[in-house]
Symmetry: C2
Subunit: 167 residues, 2 copies
DNA sequence: CTTGGTGCAAACCTTTTGCACTTTT
DNA sequence: AAAAGTGCAAAAGGTTTGCACCAAG
């Protein structure tokens, strides 16, 4: 949905380099964890990341995976998202929204309408921000999720699965 | 933010009546649980609901509170929301968005721009839906959360607390 | 050598489940 | 009387923490 090349701001840097810029020690588990999430476009859970990291480093512990995912998110190298199924991690740290297919469960990244512009100014427009401003609220960030059916599921007329719990 | 009178569609009905309309048995714990959440505008967790229900019915169990909150949400009498801190329950089942103050943690309901209209048609407009349509996605519902500082916190210049984990 | 990171196991918390008993219809 | 709901206790996730050992700067 979002061109791969633009997905992760700073993804141009190797894991090694990205860690350096944040003053984080470059340990083997940490590098692999970051690499694994970056190779992803499905917002993996900690368990999924753990499983994949283990293929490369059979001795890592789940605790290490959690500690690092949290840390990497805190440093802005990943984005953390709370889902009904648990925590998920997104290598795309730029501004974008999500579409969740209620038939197949897939999560798609959606570009922001104002995505072309940069910084705080990008948020000065848009209906939500205007609505909030009317109440004296200062908007810093936002989270938008659309629920529906993706192109494939529409085509094959897939039903809305039980996966769709209220948002 | 949203007038109390319009907060819960169907809130005009007593808990008793609301349960009837869904074919749910009207048991004492169930009525009190619904009443407690309805008396709320802070999206309480199950634990909070449990504590308040217990003041009126000292013998209820946490399991009963969970079972009923879930059931009431499934029947559309409450709305269930997944937060970092756990499940939260919202008596406002009409379409609305949320504003979360990153300084004090308060959650405010925001009316939808198209709130005046009704049904599926209400969603046919808006930037997100248009964006999604461009990708062949059919939008059924959406969840919007704005993060920022509320009027009070702006006034007293409160800092953005550590409460603000990435969304 | 010092600081920070790691593995392991145990602890934690929130949510769910099995079962015998009670209440609603 | 049948069906649905309840309390209790135990189980089940998913995530965090304490601690002794190890590695990076």
């Amino acid at each position: 949905m979002i061109p791969r090349s633009a997905r992760s701001s700073g993804a141009a840097l190797s894991a090694e380099g990205a860690l350096r810029t944040r003053g984080l020690r470059s340990t083997m588990p940490r590098r692999v964890i970051l690499d694994v999430v970056r190779a992803t476009d499905t917002h993996p859970t900690a368990a999924i990341v753990f499983e994949r990291v283990r293929r490369r480093l059979p001795r890592v512990s789940l605790a290490t995976v959690y500690r690092n995912l949290r840390r990497l998110a805190a440093e802005g190298l990943l984005r953390e998202r709370v889902e009904a199924t648990g925590l998920r991690f997104d290598p795309n740290v730029g501004p974008h929204d999500h579409f969740i297919c209620v038939a197949c469960g897939r999560i798609l990244d959606l570009p922001r309408r104002e995505g072309a512009r940069r910084g705080r100014a990008a948020l000065s427009r848009g209906e939500h921000v205007r609505t909030a401003a009317r109440y004296g609220l200062e908007v810093i960030d936002r989270r938008v999720e659309l629920y529906g059916r993706c192109r494939n599921c529409r085509r094959r007329g897939g039903p809305v699965s039980g996966l769709w719990r209220a948002t």
